[in-house]
Amino acid sequence: MSSFQGFSISEEEKDNHSKEIGGQVDTKEEINDYIAHHLKDAHDFHLFSYTSDSGERKHVGFSLPVIIWSSKGLVSFMSSEFHHDDAGHTIVEKNGLKFTKIHSKIYELDANATAVSFDDEHHATNAHKVLDFSITKSVFGILIAGLLMFLGFFSLAKGYKKGAIPTGIGRVLEPLVIYVRDEIARPNIGEKKYKKFMPYLLTVFFFIWILNLIGLTPLGFNVTGQIAITVCLALFTLVIYMTNGSKDFWAHTLWMPGVPYILRPVLAFLELVGFILIKPFSLLVRLFANITAGHSVVMGIAALMILLKAQFGTAGATGISFFLTLFLMVIEVLVAFLQAFIFTMLSALFIGMAVEEHDHAHDH
């Protein structure tokens, strides 16, 4: 396993293939490719590329570890060994196995193959996908968010040992924690039971919020816009409200009192579909689509600077795109908070529905 190489500037000649992802973009197709590439996860941390005066192509960023479970067990190496190749040209040999990267997916070549061959639909014919546990860009973003949360809340918790009033970063975090407790957890889950769910609600709120905000920096993270991440977050909420359902919740879901007997199985089916499929689906799609749409609109508006250059000149096009992008970024800061709030709010609402206990004083 090679060591972590840190920040590096790798020098490579400009590829003759015109479709170099992350390179200079001029046309509408290249801009669309660039945006699509940004929205996806990547195996290396790429900040930007430029062409130096001598005509060399330089990529600025650092490589991240690739960890895969191949046919011979665990294999790991640095993503720099792929040399920014994403089309299956570069082949890395480790433990007698050959690996290559095609469209951000790592493939293991068959034993006697030396180069990847493609069929008509551009699927690799002599290579197969492997289980990928790599520290990708998104995983790296999650680690950063985790570290930030740990440092912030650790200092907040330590502050309470000295006195009731927190200092430093705690002054920012305490009102937010109280906001989540008083505006989200208490009214939706109820005074009696909200305490049990506070850790989850706080974690999910700050996790989404911090990652949304990191996504707005020029570092190029798009973590909450990965559908895998939002699916996992929605699954956590699903498991929590399904396992904490009260007796009344299950009675009302599976055998609704006060309804004709013929209708009860139909209602039970509808309720179950709603709780198991529709509610988590709406949670995960909302977060994913909002962040993805936000990122692609901001990048598209920023790309106006290239597209409008012919009509308005360099300064004019840059000015138009700068002010539109500024306007959108301000909205995105609001959306970053709003989506974290909505996810937490709806999670609390669903948990509240499940743990609620009815007083049977009134008849149904």
Partner: protein, 62 residues
Amino acid sequence: MYNLIGAGLIVIGGGIGLGQIGGKAMEGIARQPEAAGKIQTAMIIIGALLEGLAFGALLLGK
């Protein structure tokens, strides 16, 4: 082409829905300014539910 028309229809529907929610919420706040906080929270939740529907439809159409 057809999915673009579909996307347009979704946006029209979502726009009508959001307009209704926002307009009624403002009416409510104007009539009872002391309930502004509660109305706002409810407005955001219903807006989010609507948004979930609209985004779901957009993704299915894509």
